[in-house]
């Protein structure tokens, strides 16, 4: 009784003392992209609870598309309103930055997610189960693979329409991640987008065991790396007495001014700064898939449902590199001479490691996974440049790369045999003879991955290497070009396989997709070619967005 009374008195005291605890000032309009997406995600959950099963697919699809489009419009509106340049500032009590890079990356993530929704919603590829069209996701995710419950769910024609709200939650986290302006927001955003991804990975309709294995691996390793990141956050707090980026940056450059008595023993201790910085860096390098924190990539890319792989490969990379850029450019610029050599090493290992190991891959999804590792290395080269050109080149590269990746994985969903997607490379032999258009489109994506001129891949690679070279990282560029040459081998090999090898008698067929996947692929090809033929406009756009607010 007394405890209840004391709680009650706390409430009344708090309520009765106006002005003592001011309500936080939130700039709702400037946070609207994130709020729209997260709000839609919540509505999506409610739809799952209250809307009849038959109507869920269309309502979820519509909701997701509208929400993402509205959020994208909000980003454009903010950028047009000058929040990317002159009005850039830090919103939500110092937690979230609204500036050029944040808006650019949020726009990219939203576009990528919009296309990903198209591939998520595809229902014509898998043969209809008991008269009902099904997508790439498990009929009932909680049922044991191969068990009676699963068969009953399949027979009833169930589909997991929860993927749409889950996707929206992930997108919401990704929107905050590159904009986070303190370490705790960074961590929360990381978890908000990671947990939905773990779930999505486990939801494949076919080869469910592989899919669940991938999800568990991703979860365990993700949790492991999150722990490192959190430990790093704690150390940095110990060093600076604050978790805001600006606060830490100030202590790094000017030293601690007011020593917090509780942290008297640690504040200003450079060892904490270096170790904490390295650990936070490691958490982010894990997400971008840089060597030696890349081990999850091939297994997860292979096991996850292919639409999820495409989304993850494109959007996660954009969000994680965005956060990495902000951390290095806003928090740790004073430490440039400490982290640059370390990142040099990581970039070299990543470029070479990804390219070399990809040579001997036999599965197209694993091949693309290693290719994404190599690309992470190329992007790191731009990150290391520590110049405005470096930022804009990375922004451009991320945009270009995500469209190519989404498109490529969308094509992978089309090539099928009796067991679902035929991801074995040997089965792709002679695909160009049977389905010239699909093979040609895939060839365009491969050429873009390889960085052949007139594709966006060339323009992006050129931009990051140029920025790196100008910042004095000439040798890094040399290694980058060598690994590009190695990487070209396995991209071209797939093209040779598709066009110059005889098709096998029992080879896969190419499924005819609905307009959803067709649109996704068409957007991917168009973006790849437009960014390759006339990259300058978009390079300029990225250039204007290249300044972080501090």
């Amino acid at each position: 009784m007394s405890s209840v009374a004391s709680v009650h008195s706390l409430w009344t005291v708090a309520a009765g003392a106006p002005g003592k605890i001011p309500g936080p000032h939130i700039e709702y309009a400037q946070l609207s992209p994130t709020l729209i997406v997260l709000g839609a995600a919540v509505i999506g959950v409610l739809i799952e609870a209250f809307v009849p099963r038959a109507a869920r697919y269309y309502s979820q699809l519509l909701l997701s598309l509208v929400a993402l489009a509205a959020a994208f419009a909000a980003v454009i509106g903010l950028a047009a309103g000058g929040f990317g340049s002159s009005k850039a500032h830090i919103a939500a009590m110092g937690a979230i930055a609204v500036d050029g890079p944040a808006l650019f990356l949020q726009g990219t993530i939203l576009l990528v997610s919009l296309i990903a929704v198209f591939t998520f919603a595809e229902r014509r590829l898998d043969p209809a189960a008991h008269g009902k069209r099904v997508d790439s996701f498990a009929a009932e995710a909680a049922a044991v693979p191969g068990g009676a419950a699963e068969q009953a769910a399949v027979k009833a024609g169930f589909t997991t329409t929860e993927v749409f709200p889950i996707l929206l939650f992930a997108v919401g986290g990704m929107l905050v991640f590159p904009a986070a302006n303190d370490l705790l927001t960074l961590f929360v955003a990381l978890e908000v987008f990671s947990l939905p991804l773990y779930i999505l990975c486990a939801l494949a309709r076919r080869q469910r065991l592989l899919s669940q294995e991938a999800a568990v691996k991703y979860f365990l390793l993700g949790a492991f790396s999150s722990a490192f990141l959190l430990f790093g956050v704690a150390l940095l707090y110990g060093y600076a007495g604050t978790v805001t980026y600006a606060g830490i940056a100030e202590v790094v450059s000017d030293g601690a001014k007011q020593i917090d008595p509780a942290l008297a023993g640690t504040m200003g201790n450079d060892a904490l700064l270096l170790i904490g910085g390295a650990l936070v860096l490691m958490g982010l390098l894990f997400k971008v898939g840089a060597v030696p924190f890349h081990m999850w990539t091939p297994d997860v890319y292979q096991g996850a449902p292919t639409p999820v792989t495409g989304f993850m490969a494109a959007a996660t990379k954009v969000a994680a590199f965005g956060a990495l850029l902000r951390l290095l450019y806003v928090v740790l610029p004073g430490l440039r001479w400490d982290w640059r050599p370390v990142l040099w090493g990581v970039a070299i290992l990543t470029m070479l490691g990804g390219a070399v190991v990809a040579i001997t891959q036999t599965d197209i999804k694993r091949l693309l996974a290693y290719s994404s590792i190599a690309h992470a290395g190329f992007i790191l080269a731009g990150v290391i440049a520590t110049s405005e050109d470096g930022v804009s080149s990375v922004l451009f590269y991320l945009g270009a790369y995500s469209f190519v990746t989404l498109g490529a994985f969308a094509v992978v969903t089309l090539v099928r045999d009796a067991g679902g997607e035929a991801t074995q490379l040997s089965k792709w032999a002679g695909l160009g003879r049977r389905s010239p258009l699909v093979a040609a489109v895939f060839a365009v994506f491969l050429l873009a991955f390889a960085g052949i001129p007139l594709t966006s891949g060339f323009a992006g690679k050129f931009a990051v290497f140029k920025a790196a070279a100008q910042s004095g990282a000439g040798w890094l560029v040399v290694v980058g070009v060598i690994s590009s040459a190695i990487a070209a081998f396995f991209y071209i090999r797939v093209i040779v396989l598709m066009f110059f090898n005889e098709p096998k008698a029992d080879g896969p067929t190419v499924a005819v997709p609905s307009p959803l996947t067709t649109t996704a692929i068409a957007i991917g090809v168009t973006a790849t070619l437009v960014l390759g033929l006339a990259p300058q406009y978009f390079l300029d756009l990225a250039g204007q967005a290249g300044v972080f607010v501090r």
């Binding site: 568990v216 691996k217 365990l220 390793l221 492991f224 790396s225 490192f228 450079d270 060892a271 270096l274 170790i275 910085g277 390295a278 650990l279 860096l281 490691m282 894990f286 060597v291 030696p292 924190f293 081990m295 999850w296 091939p298 297994d299 001479w337 400490d338 982290w339 050599p341 370390v342 090493g345 990581v346 490691g353 070399v356 190991v357 990809a358 040579i359 001997t360 323009a459 050129f462 140029k466 190695i486 081998f489 033929l533 006339a534 990259p535 300058q536 406009y537």
Partner: protein
């Protein structure tokens, strides 16, 4: 107004994309879409022309800048257009004749099941050709240059089921590559010399550049022109190119694409003006080719190949004129335009004859067709009178001016060039009269049971009539008050030559040699019946039938020599280069297999590796501070 320039290129480009990607659903409407877009481009051209005429001569050039493709340091590859009087002339010729030939093809290709694709390629050609003449820099011009090469390749080999067509396409492509290499080297030289590709700065800077460099650039440009315009020594592909459908021969291999070389030389006039040695090479090439093509044209029994020889020879005239400098540029372009009219008309006439004769091309199996195909006879006849330079018709005005200009070159050179041009005129009259007599006059040499010659449908004859009207009046119209020369002067500059012989003398001698040529042909093919089987003929005739042994020469020197060179290089490559490359590849593969083993599939080992990685990362960061 200048914003419309891109539309000129865009219209046919959209057409090509639609028709080539549209699939079967466009089979029934495709040819109309293609034709409509060609006509639309022409309409835009006319609108721009009207606008241009409304301005004073110095303010006629227009520019449109679209975008820049990755500027790096001093390297700027702009996608930008320049529409001046020279480009405008080409735009009207290309889209005008192009539209007529599109219309003609609707009838000509009616029964071809791949008609949609054919129109797609024609649209592609138009787009590329317009890009070529509208580019404001050499690099973009090169894009168009390669584009027309591609379209030409696709269209020569359009009937790819015929091995001869496939081979001809390949031959045209390969020979053109040699020329294209010249253009790419010229562009690289320009970049190293001037630091830019844009016409304006390059051509303005020629005064301050050493003559040696300009000569090198000029010779490389000439090589490019030789390839595209079928000039000696890269002429061998044009005859075989007649394997393509006749509308293609009319549009690409007579009226427009093959004249790209003349455009290139005229456009680069400032380079040649400052490099007399390169200019001399140009006139030599022109004079040799005009005789070479004429001689070949005399011996061919295939009507299209006879016309191909004639094309080569007429372009020889243009190149000769362009090599004469400011006294010749305007006349080169004027002859180019009139030639566009009458040669396209002649080819369409030939196509119409073939259409009525079961696709027979051997003139020895024609004869007496004038009664059966009155419209074709009339339009072909007017084209014939125009090309031989019958007084009052188009060819008379343009060719006469070139011959005058050749004499005006001065000195011994002037006499040699003028003489060659005059001789060429005589031979032209001879071989064209021969074609005319063998086709439309004399006795029937075809089997009336199997062949039923008939006039072509309206959709084919109307374009022929329009072109015939052009062949008759264009030259006269251009010559009134020297209007054409005045029009081009701001771009090409113009100087009156000082001929050692008077203009009247030149005109009189032109008419005399014309009559000589016609008379000789009449004696040989009009008075006597034409044998249905070709007689053995003199040594020269036999050589001319084999294109003056061009292929034998190429085979002996380039093909055999090239084969020998490659076998030697392949051996070297195998032993030296491949050894190194394969070694690297094998070691990479080995490394890859080795590293792959780290990917065990067990989460525990991944976690250990991450832990190790984190430790190294932290240690390295600390070490960096320590060092």
């Amino acid at each position: 107004m200048e914003n419309l320039i891109a539309l000129l290129v865009a219209a046919p480009l959209v057409g090509a994309a639609l028709l080539l990607c549209g699939g079967k659903r466009l089979d029934r409407t495709g040819h109309w879409i293609g034709t409509l877009l060609a006509v639309a481009s022409f309409a835009v051209g006319v609108a721009l022309f009207a606008d241009m005429l409304g301005r004073s001569a110095d303010h006629r050039a227009m520019h449109q800048y679209l975008f820049s493709w990755i500027p790096v340091g001093g390297f700027r590859a702009d996608v930008a257009f320049q529409l001046d009087q020279l480009s405008m002339t080409f735009v009207l010729l290309i889209t005008g004749v192009g539209s007529l030939i599109h219309i003609y093809s609707i009838g000509y290709m009616e029964h071809d099941e791949r008609r949609r694709r054919f129109f797609g390629y024609l649209n592609l050609f138009l787009a590329a050709m317009l890009l070529l003449v509208l580019a404001d820099n050499y690099l973009l011009l090169y894009v168009g240059w390669e584009g027309v090469g591609l379209a030409s390749y696709l269209l020569i080999g359009f009937w790819q089921h015929k091995p001869s067509a496939a081979t001809a396409a390949k031959k045209a492509f390969l020979v053109n590559r040699v020329g294209d290499m010249g253009l790419s080297i010229a562009i690289m030289l320009m970049f190293t010399t001037f630091g830019t590709f844009a016409f304006g700065p390059v051509l303005a800077a020629t005064g301050a550049t050493s003559e040696g460099k300009l000569t090198a650039i000029g010779l490389m440009l000439l090589l490019a022109a030789c390839g595209k315009s079928a000039q000696v020594p890269l002429q061998s592909w044009l005859g075989d190119a007649m394997e393509g459908p006749t509308p293609v021969s009319a549009l690409i291999h007579a009226a427009t694409m093959v004249t790209a070389g003349v455009y290139l030389i005229t456009r680069s006039g400032a380079v040649f003006n400052a490099a007399p040695d390169a200019q001399l090479a140009v006139v030599v090439v022109g004079a040799v080719t005009l005789l070479y093509g004429a001689i070949v044209g005399c011996a061919k029994d295939d009507i299209k190949k006879a016309l191909a020889g004639s094309t080569m020879s007429q372009i020889g005239y243009m190149v000769l004129a362009a090599g004469l400098g400011p006294i010749g540029y305007a006349f080169a372009i004027m002859h180019l335009v009139t030639h566009g009219f009458f040669k396209a008309g002649l080819f369409l006439g030939a196509g119409s004859v073939m259409h009525g004769m079961n696709d027979e091309v051997d003139m020895r199996k024609y004869g007496g067709l004038r009664k059966y195909m009155p419209v074709t006879f009339l339009t072909f006849g007017l084209g014939y009178l125009a090309i031989i330079g019958f007084p009052g018709l188009s060819g008379f005005f343009s060719k006469d001016k070139i011959i005058e200009a050749a004499f005006a070159k001065g000195g011994t050179e002037g006499w040699i060039l003028g003489g060659a041009a005059l001789l060429g005129a005589a031979v032209t009259a001879f071989y064209m009269t021969r074609v005319m007599l063998m086709t439309f006059f004399g006795e029937k040499r075809w089997d009336p049971k199997e062949t039923h010659p008939h006039e072509s449908p309206k959709i084919m004859t109307v374009p022929m009539i329009v072109l015939a009207v052009g062949s008759v009046f264009a030259g006269g119209l251009f010559s009134i008050n020297e209007s054409f020369v005045t029009w081009l002067e701001p771009v090409t500059s113009f100087a009156h030559g000082h001929s050692p012989v008077s203009a009247t003398t030149v005109t009189a001698s032109t008419i005399v040699v014309l009559l000589l040529g016609v008379g000789t042909a009449w004696l040989m093919y009009g008075r006597k019946p034409v044998p249905a089987l070709a007689p053995r003929g003199s040594l020269l005739t036999r050589a001319a039938r084999r294109d003056l042994l061009q292929d034998d020469f190429n085979d002996l020197v380039f093909v055999r020599g090239g084969t020998h060179l490659t076998t030697t290089l392949v051996q070297l490559d195998r032993s030296l280069v491949d050894g190194a490359v394969n070694g690297t590849a094998a070691s990479m593969g080995g490394l890859s297999s080795l590293l792959r083993r780290l990917q065990t599939g067990f989460v525990r080992s991944y976690a250990v590796q991450m832990l190790g990685g984190a430790a190294v990362l932290v240690a390295a960061t600390l070490l960096m501070r320590g060092v």
